[in-house]
Structure formats: structure tokens, C-alpha cells
């Protein structure tokens, strides 16, 4: 046995610690700071960014319109994916890179169901809810496939999900015999656009509902404790009676369900699908949202609200760039610059420095704007 000389000091909150230091140490500091910077930038550059007006949509209904509404609306799929991705990250210490491709599958399945196998349909061939349920079951199964590879065959998550990443869009096309079905029934588009008489985009409600569901799940089940415990120390968890493999599998299945909901919103926006372009690269944004939320991509402790906030930050950034008419080809480059800054800022090393140097964030703020 080695001779312990001194015990590691427990981290105590020092009473004299400034509010700023404590703030920096908060997990949600970075996404909030990023959001604040984006808001500030837009306020200074052009306050009209925040203007919300009522316009008539193509159906003649009065609906809310404006950049903020567009952020809330368009972030929906990303937010829902980021929630599922957070759980997968926490339990397995890796990410599912197939979510974009499986969203295509979900969309394809739902369209095939509501179109009844026809290329175009003007009325729903199946109750919408049933179609969505089938979509959920299908992607949950794909999630289970990914999860089984990760949990039971101990394949690296990125490698395991690379399979569906590669094959997913082909499967999606195959489901509809390579046709591009178009759904013209207006009620199909309610979920992706507006419900009659309601001026707020429906995806906002769906997202709020999903967030509520997860809030309830985290409150009324032990999902949070179990996934974190398994992600931090699978051995300990097993010796405390948990089944780490099953819990990992479960998180992938949950992500599968999230994928179906996101896929439904996406096809519901247009009533059609483009297999190779739908939700392209969304997996990267979802992973980024998790990271921006201050969650370690190596798993363990998580804060689901951080990921949600991260997803909105990403969409806010995209919308801001669109507003300043950055050409769509140049968009990723601009995004990359901001992302580098955010990721570097949220790195523990930098945050440690930040909390010891007060002036650093001001400098960083200048760099961002």
C-alpha cells in the first residue's frame, strides 16, 4: 500500500469568489453567452432583425412572420434530435451519425403510408397518427440496430452508425420504389406549417411537447441517473444492479423515436421528399448542439437543456447569416469560423483561464462580432 501524504482537497466554493467566476463555471454559460452575443450583434447591426409581423400565408391565414419566428420554427428538428443525441452521448460516450439518413427513412415511410403507395395522393390514405406511429416504430428499430451494435457487439458508436449513415438514404428511396411521392392533402402539412387559425408554426408546439415529455421522463423515471451512471462507469453500474447494455440500447431506441418525429416534421413542411438532400448534414449540427450545450462528447454527465439551447444557437446563427445574405455556398465556412470560436471558448482549459482572467471574454466577444 502506498503512503498517502495528503488527501486531495475537496473543491469548496470560496466565499470571496466573484459572481462572474461562478457564472463562467456554469455548464450553460457558453450557450447562453453565445446566444447573448448573437442577439447583441443583431441588435447593433440591424434591430429590425427582431421585428415580428403578421402576414398572410399562402392559404390566406394571418400568421406570425419574422426572423425570430423562423429561428424557433426551423430549429425544431435539430432540437428534437439534439435531445436524443444527448442521451446516446451520455450512455455510450459516442454519437449516432446516422440520424440524417434515418430521418430520410422516417419521412419515406410516413409518406408511403399516407400516400398508400401512390406517387401522388390528394387525400390521406391512412390516418396521419397511425402513419407517424409506423414511422416511429421503424426508426426505433433502426435505433435498436445501432444500439445493439454499440452495446452488445461493442463497436465504436461512430463506426456502428456509419452503416446506417451510408445505407439509410438508399433504404429510404427503396421504401418508395425510388419514386418521389407527393402528398397534397393540406392536413398533412399542418404539422410542418400552420394549423388553421393558429399564427404560431406547428413545429414549435411539437418541439415544446417533446421537451415537456423529456422533462417528465427525467423527473418521473430514473432515465437520467441510469444513463449518466452507465456512461461514467459501466462496471460500477453493473455491480449496482443496472444492465449497462440494455440502457445503452434504450438510449439509441429513444433517439430513433426522436428521429421519426423530426423526420415527420421535415416531410410535413413540403409534403414531399428528396432522399439525398433531406436533413443533409443534420447529424453534425445535432452533435454540435450537444457539445455547445457544455456536454462532454465522451459521455457521462449531461444537461439536456444545454443541448436544446445549443440547437437554438446553431439555428440562430444560420438565420443570421441568411439575413445578411451570405451565399449558401459560403455559409458553411462562416458557420465554421463561429463554431471554432464557440468550441474553443467552451473547452475546459479555456474556461479555467477565463474564470481566472476577467477581461478575456470581452476580447473574445470582439472576435465573434
Amino acid at each position: 500500500m502506498m503512503t498517502p501524504v495528503k488527501n486531495p482537497e475537496t473543491k469548496l466554493k470560496q466565499p470571496g469568489e466573484s459572481l462572474f467566476k461562478r457564472l463562467v463555471r456554469q455548464q450553460l454559460f457558453i450557450p447562453f453567452a453565445a446566444l447573448a452575443l448573437l442577439v447583441l450583434f443583431n441588435l447593433i447591426a440591424d434591430p429590425s432583425f427582431f421585428a415580428v409581423s403578421i402576414k398572410e400565408n399562402s392559404l390566406g391565414n394571418p400568421v406570425l412572420s419574422g426572423n425570430i419566428i423562423s429561428v424557433l420554427d426551423n430549429a425544431s428538428e435539430l432540437v428534437i434530435l439534439a435531445i436524443g443525441m444527448t442521451l446516446v452521448t451520455a450512455s455510450s460516450g459516442g454519437q449516432d451519425i446516422s440520424v440524417g439518413a434515418t430521418m430520410a427513412i422516417a419521412g419515406s415511410v410516413i409518406l408511403r403510408m399516407v400516400c398508400g403507395g401512390q406517387v401522388t395522393a390528394d387525400t390521406l390514405q391512412m390516418p396521419l397518427l397511425l402513419a407517424v406511429l409506423i414511422g416511429i416504430v421503424v426508426t426505433a428499430l433502426f435505433g435498436a440496430f445501432n444500439g445493439a451494435l454499440v452495446a452488445y457487439f461493442k463497436i465504436q458508436p461512430m463506426v456502428a452508425t456509419l452503416i446506417m449513415f451510408t445505407a439509410g438514404r438508399s433504404i429510404a428511396a427503396w421504401i418508395n420504389n425510388n419514386q418521389l411521392p407527393i402528398m397534397n392533402d393540406i392536413s398533412f402539412k399542418y404539422a410542418g406549417t400552420f394549423l388553421p387559425g393558429i399564427p404560431v408554426p406547428t413545429p414549435v408546439f411539437i418541439t415544446a411537447f417533446v421537451i415537456l415529455l423529456f422533462w417528465l421522463a427525467l423527473k418521473f423515471t430514473t432515465l437520467g441517473l441510469y444513463t449518466q451512471s452507465v456512461g461514467i462507469n459501466a462496471n460500477s453500474s453493473r455491480l449496482n444492479g443496472l444492465d449497462p447494455k440494455l440502457i445503452k440500447l434504450l438510449t439509441y431506441v429513444i433517439l430513433g423515436v426522436c428521429v421519426a418525429v423530426a423526420g415527420f416534421i421535415r416531410v410535413s413542411r413540403s409534403g414531399s421528399i428528396n432522399y439525398s438532400r433531406i436533413a443533409e448534414n443534420i447529424e453534425m449540427d445535432a452533435i454540435l448542439a450537444v457539445a455547445l450545450g457544455g456536454n462532454a462528447l465522451s459521455g457521462g454527465k449531461f444537461n439536456i437543456y444545454g443541448s436544446i439551447l445549443g440547437a437554438y444557437v446553431i439555428q440562430f446563427l444560420t438565420t443570421t447569416l441568411y439575413k445578411y445574405e451570405v451565399p449558401s455556398t459560403a455559409l458553411p465556412a462562416y458557420k465554421a469560423v463561429v463554431v471554432i470560436l464557440l468550441v474553443v471558448l467552451s473547452a475546459p482549459v479555456v474556461r479555467e483561464k477565463l474564470s481566472s482572467m476577467k477581461k478575456a471574454p470581452v476580447k473574445a466577444a470582439k472576435e465573434v462580432s
Partner: protein
């Protein structure tokens, strides 16, 4: 340097943050001898070897090597190799998908061009001279583990080493393979190579070694000629006798009285597991504290893991309160009222990033089930209660458990199991690496629990501690239960004799 010595280490010191891993350790290796380096885990064996091979820089002391004037400078494994020191590790560090010859010459060929014929014939000669049954062109992975181990040694020998370090080379070999390896070691000894042999197997030390150096707690206990050190003494030197002013706790509590009454709480017959222990019988009564003892690697942890279902149980029957039960996984055991504090606190016990509170409620929460989470208020009450009861020193219940000291982490794990109100508690090395005060607290706690009717199995490397707490000891040697001691047989000498076995 001494006459005939090939390696001399003098006054070696090595500090890690918060720990003195080696203090003023001397070690001498002579030409043509096999020298065992013995000590329990954490005694400093591997640290000493890592200092010698340049993996760790030393904080003090000198190393002298035959043929080098003045202190040798070893700053990297490469330096060590150049100085004639080769190491063969427990895990084979060769490439199984390359041929035997390639493995022997890997990293040693000069230039970009390989002369395959020369390499293969060179390798063939060495293999033949050492009597290793392998062909140079054979793929290494197709050889048995023993032959792979030997190829690793051949590689080391071919690098013209004067000092060969074998770190636990036999742990994955069977009896015959061990004999082959010993044959090779004896040949090398005859050729004048000095061999440092690190192992946990006492039998093997007495079979093949000439000299023994014993380390304990990072300090040198002594160097002995093998004939002058009977097994019992070796064991006592490795374990050390801790002379301290601890009270005779058992006397205080008088817990022995109830230990022999009543039917067994748990009874196991012919239990064995995938961890490779020989089938063993075990039983424990209500309010009894018993223990498994034996050297490290003797299978004592594997036994309790089999009882708890932590390893895959491959045979045997278990009865709980007289009824036959199946324990296939930890949750089964937990539901029957068994708690298990594992040996490896960091790897198997704590969930590092979670708070003290979450760590304390974890097992109880799992038993309650997925859909019945313990409310925050209740969890806080549980945590505060045990923090007070066990005097856990933590800033708050929200502090991540990994920032607590070892002893306080251990108390949290103990609290975790106490919260499940177990009928039978297994404590594997609960006092390892924690300060003396906490050690006594934990021992007292175990005895208090026993008075209230909880049964407990206690494992500790420190025999004193076992004597203070247990009324019955099962002695393990080489993964087999070799004896059971109770009553008057429970003395240091008797235990050590049973652990050592053999030359009684």
C-alpha cells in the same frame, strides 16, 4: 559495484503527487541469477521496474550497470535497451499478425530495405539455440501463448541483454507451459544473464529463483538467499506486521457470541465462476463475520464476486435462508438482500462524476426500479443522514464523489449498501488505501452491524484486521480454498502457514 553484480540500484526514490512510491530502495542483481522481486500490490515492484526501464524518471538514487563507468543515465525505454536491460511484460506486446521473425526484428532493422532471408535465418538460429518450438516464418498469433511469451524473451535475448525483466510472465500460462518457460530461464541463467522475475505465485519463486528481494509500502524489506527464507517468513515479510495501538475491537463488542448459532443465511456448494476459481463451498450464519484470506491473486475476490453474481457463475448451488436461489447477475443478489463493496473502488465502486448523493442512493434506486425515482427531497435526507452517521467529509451532498479522499469515497459506497438494508454484506478490501482512523471506524461498523444480525464477509490484505473482525477465515491459495480456520486457530502464525502451504 559489488563483485559479480550486473546491475545495482542504490537509494532509489520516486514520488507521485501525494504518494511516496519508492523510498530509498536498494536492489542488486548478480550475473547468472534469477532474482524474485516480491511484494503485495502497491509495494512498489512495478514502480521500481518502471524506474529501471526509464518509463518513470527517478527522484533520487543511482543505477549502476556492469561495464558502464559511473551512474547510468536511463531516461527512456530506448536508453534501457541500449544499456542491455530488456523487459517482457505480462501482456504480450508483440504483433500477432506478423511472423515470428518479424516480431523479433521489429524496430531494429536499419534502412528501408529488409533482408528477409538473413532475418529469417538469424531468427531461426536464435529460436533453435533457445529450444523454442516455433518457425521464423510462422505467424505469431498461431503460436500458443507460452511460445509467444518465449518469442518475446528471444527478442529480448537477441538484443544482447545483460538484464532480463520478466513481469508476471506466467499468469496466463498453464502448468506445462510454465515448465517450458522455466527451462528457458535456466538456460539463460547458465549463459550469465541476470533475470528479475516478478510474480505472485509463491510456488514458482521457490522452484526457479536464487534470491528474493521483498518490498513493502515502497520500502525495501530485505534481500534474501532463497534457502534462508522459508515460505512462512516470506509471507510475513510481504504482508508486514502492523504494530499499532489499535484496540482489540472484537473484545470490545463481544460479537462472537451469536456467530455460531442458527441456520446459515447463505450457503453455497461447489460454486465456481468464469473468473477461474476452483469450486468452493461457503456458508455464513446470521450475525456472523467471516473472511477470505490469501495473497493477492489467490482468488479471494473471485469467490465473493461469484457469490454476488458479479462474474458469470458456471456451476454450483446457492441457498438463501435454506431455499435454493439462482444468482445470475448482481441485481438478483441485491434483491435477496446481498450487498457488495468491490475491491477496486475506482473502477467498480464509485461513479466518479456523480454527486455523493447520487452515489449513495444508486443501489437502492436500482432496486426500487426505473419508474419509481427517489424524490430529490428524500434523496437529500438519505444522503445527509449517512453523511452524518458515517462522518463523511464532503463539502456538500452535491460534490462529485471523485473529489473526495479515498476513505470518504469508501464510506459513501458503504452508505450505498447500508441504505439497501442488506441481510448479508460483502466487503472486499474496504480499508485499502485509507487512513488508520477510518479503517478502525469501518471495522467497528462491521461489528456493530453483525450485532444487529447482519452477516458480513470481510476481505483484507492485512491479517491483523481480519483477526480483529472475523470469527472464521477461509484461506485461499492459487485460486483454491485450502483451509478454514476458526477459534483458537485464528493466529497470525497459523494463518500465514496456511497461506504459504507447501513446506510446513
Amino acid at each position: 559495484m559489488q563483485e559479480g553484480a550486473v546491475l545495482e540500484m542504490r537509494g532509489i526514490c520516486k514520488y507521485f503527487p501525494g504518494v511516496r512510491a519508492l523510498q530509498d530502495v536498494d536492489f542488486t542483481l548478480r550475473k547468472g541469477e534469477i532474482h524474485a522481486l516480491m511484494g503485495e500490490n502497491g509495494a512498489g515492484k512495478s514502480t521500481l521496474i518502471k524506474v529501471l526501464t526509464g518509463v518513470y524518471p527517478k527522484d533520487g538514487g543511482e543505477v549502476h550497470i556492469e561495464g558502464v563507468d559511473g551512474p547510468a543515465v536511463i531516461r527512456s525505454p530506448q536508453d534501457a535497451q541500449n544499456a542491455g536491460i530488456s523487459t517482457v511484460y505480462q501482456e504480450i506486446t508483440l504483433c500477432p499478425n506478423l511472423s515470428v521473425a518479424e516480431n523479433m526484428y521489429i524496430g531494429r532493422t536499419k534502412g528501408a530495405v529488409t533482408n528477409w532471408r538473413k532475418m529469417n535465418s538469424g531468427a531461426g538460429k536464435i529460436l533453435e539455440s533457445l529450444g523454442i518450438p516455433a518457425s521464423p516464418t510462422q505467424q505469431l498469433g498461431t503460436c500458443s501463448i507460452a511460445v509467444q511469451q518465449m518469442v518475446a524473451i528471444a527478442r529480448a535475448v537477441d538484443m544482447e541483454c545483460k538484464v532480463l525483466i520478466l513481469d508476471e510472465p506466467t499468469s496466463s500460462l498453464d502448468e506445462q507451459e510454465v515448465q517450458k518457460l522455466f527451462g528457458l530461464m535456466r538456460d539463460l541463467r547458465a549463459k550469465g544473464v541476470g533475470i528479475i522475475f516478478v510474480t505472485h505465485f509463491l510456488e514458482q519463486v521457490y522452484e526457479v529463483c536464487d534470491r528474493i528481494t521483498v518490498l513493502r509500502d515502497g520500502q525495501l524489506v530485505g534481500e534474501y538467499v532463497i534457502e534462508a527464507l522459508p515460505r512462512v517468513q516470506l509471507v510475513s515479510k510481504m504482508l508486514g506486521k502492523e504494530l499499532d495501538d489499535m484496540a482489540d475491537i472484537k473484545g470490545e463488542s463481544g460479537g462472537e457470541a451469536i456467530s455460531r448459532e442458527g441456520a446459515p443465511v447463505l450457503e453455497a456448494q461447489g460454486l465456481c465462476s468464469s473468473a477461474g476459481i476452483k469450486p468452493f463451498d461457503f456458508s455464513i450464519r446470521r450475525g456472523e463475520v467471516n473472511g477470505f484470506t490469501g495473497l493477492l491473486g489467490s482468488g479471494r475476490s473471485e469467490c465473493v464476486r461469484a457469490i454476488f453474481g458479479a462474474d458469470h457463475v458456471t456451476g454450483g448451488t446457492v441457498k438463501m435462508d435454506g431455499k435454493e436461489v439462482k444468482i445470475k447477475k448482481p441485481l438478483d443478489a441485491m434483491k435477496l438482500g446481498i450487498g457488495y463493496l468491490p475491491e477496486d473502488r475506482k473502477g467498480d465502486g464509485i461513479v466518479g462524476d456523480l454527486s455523493v448523493r447520487e452515489n449513495i442512493i444508486l443501489a437502492y434506486q436500482v432496486m426500487k426500479g426505473f419508474f419509481r425515482p427517489i424524490s430529490r427531497a428524500q434523496a437529500e435526507a438519505f444522503a445527509d443522514n449517512y453523511i452524518k452517521l458515517l462522518e463523511i467529509k464532503t463539502a456538500s451532498a452535491d460534490t462529485p464523489i471523485k473529489s473526495l479522499s479515498g476513505g470518504n469515497q469508501q464510506k459513501c459506497i458503504l452508505a450505498r449498501w447500508l441504505l439497501t438494508d442488506p441481510k448479508y454484506l460483502i466487503l472486499d478490501e474496504p480499508t485499502r488505501g485509507i487512513d488508520i482512523g477510518t479503517k478502525i471506524e469501518i471495522q467497528k461498523l462491521v461489528l456493530r452491524l453483525a450485532e444487529k444480525g447482519t452477516s458480513a464477509t470481510f476481505i483484507s490484505s492485512e491479517i491483523d484486521e481480519m483477526l480483529r473482525t472475523c470469527s472464521r477465515l477461509i484461506v485461499m491459495r492459487d485460486r483454491k480454498a485450502v483451509g478454514e480456520l476458526s477459534g483458537e486457530d485464528l493466529t497470525q502464525t497459523k494463518i500465514m502457514a496456511t497461506i504459504a502451504g507447501g513446506d510446513e
